[in-house]
Symmetry: C3
Subunit: 204 residues, 3 copies
């Protein structure tokens, strides 16, 4: 339990930092940066919970707002230093993503929906925060063009389904599913693997 | 029943194609294009269902996700050919719009809301998908500037109300309402009818 | 009761005008301007009600849609004259904000959530409409960069909490909380007080 919480907070922190950094590049004020960081961190889970018709997870305990506040303070105090920790944040962010996907799938199954909905919700949990962040800073959503971010979420969902069908224990299922998300993303970034760009529109 | 389903899928396909085409013009990858297509097709109905506090329609059966997948595959395989079918898609899209409006109105009345809410929900069902699509591709929403799209939804709602008050049968009411949406839009495009641009802001 | 309603309508009118004016600067048509005005006026409360899982407030009575319609008609008829009433609208808008924050807090407490959620909901009620307006007109949200708008909402929330803990009567609590929102915003604009811009991102 404690370990899961630790990863959850580290993931939230990393997601919040990514929002705050992009907001600062647009010269947002502290408050604006906080909101963008918060939306990046909790936007995916909030969308999922609204669709599942359950109380949004961050409304039951203030820790997500506090962790985002700590992320803001870190950037205010240690600005450029934080920026240079790019690789560290990539790790946090990716581990957080793996956890978010697993949490999203489990909450959906708990709410009584079938597996294909759970896989979609795992992806929504992992990616809607980043999409909303990019809308708020008025940019084209990054994950639609550069990363295999969302596809990694889908792969994690399929691995979860396979483990579940094979009657693996709940802990093993969680670990393998999260690990497949993390591994997919790390390999894709390392070997510059990306999804083909869609051609078809007559843009010459 | 079967005929309604066929129109529903044709409308979903046409809405998805419109999202995928615009995403491809922004050089989104396949996955990004799929998401934009899906949001265009299901965004309106999802917003309606969240406001009505019922389970979003696409979470009860996977067909909408599958139809959007077929739309993506069509664009990948037949790219430029699909683009040239502009008029065909205009027909599908407009018939789909008529159906979406009727479905939106009926779901709202079933949930126990008054008629004016149902008319608003018919419009939301028909137009929020396109608005969200334009936000995702970082453009000014098209329907606010160029079409009488949303007004056609309102007219369809008023026709539905009149038929209902006149105690027409449910089938006749559905057909006349959808037909009025389709007719309004076709006439507006054919005769270049549009809503006046708002002046008033001092933009010189 | 009547007085509260009057302020509520005045605030809705002022919020709607702010959306319609910005939409007209982007050459939206009448319908688009109406939608942007409506979203500005009811977007915050709708988001709050979805998160609280209660029926969105504007779906129980048509007055908010009517007030927004009156705002549109005013701009169509009295365009440039309305624009010059900048200061008048600033007053309406700020009084409306104070009321929206108090309504947001009370609805949240009524739904059984703790105080920190209520303060967040007060802020969401006051500011999400303006953020959505800026997304629809494809601009960086203004309140993230220029105003202490959202911070005024938080201060109003804290004052509400203090009055509540001090067992002040409900009326006094409402008035002091709304007054603190209004005072904060007026003083900030008068003395050009703003939140520091976040530095830290390497943007040279």
């Amino acid at each position: 339990m404690n370990f899961i919480h630790l990863i959850d907070y580290a993931g939230t922190f990393a997601f919040a930092i990514s929002g705050i950094r992009l907001a600062s590049a647009k010269r947002f004020d502290w408050f604006g940066a906080y909101v963008v960081g918060l939306v990046t961190a909790i936007g995916g889970g909030t969308t999922r919970d609204l669709l599942l018709n359950v109380t949004p997870f961050w409304m039951t305990q203030p820790s997500y707002l506090i962790v985002t506040g700590l992320a803001l303070i870190s950037v205010i105090l240690f600005g450029k230093f934080i920026i240079r920790l790019n690789n560290t944040f990539f790790i946090f962010d990716t581990i957080g993503l793996g956890l978010f996907v697993v949490v999203g799938i489990e909450r959906t199954l708990d709410a009584g929906f079938p597996f294909w909905v759970a896989i979609v919700m795992g992806m929504i949990t992992g990616s809607v925060g980043g999409i909303t962040r990019d809308i708020l800073i008025n940019e084209l959503p990054l994950i639609f063009r550069k990363d295999i971010y969302a596809l990694a979420c889908v792969i994690g969902g399929v691995v979860f389904l396979c483990c579940y069908e094979a009657h693996f224990s709940s802990t093993i299922t969680q670990i393998l599913s999260a690990a497949s998300v993390i591994l997919t993303r790390v390999l894709a970034v390392k070997y510059h693997i990306s999804i083909p760009v869609l051609k078809g529109h007559d843009d010459n």
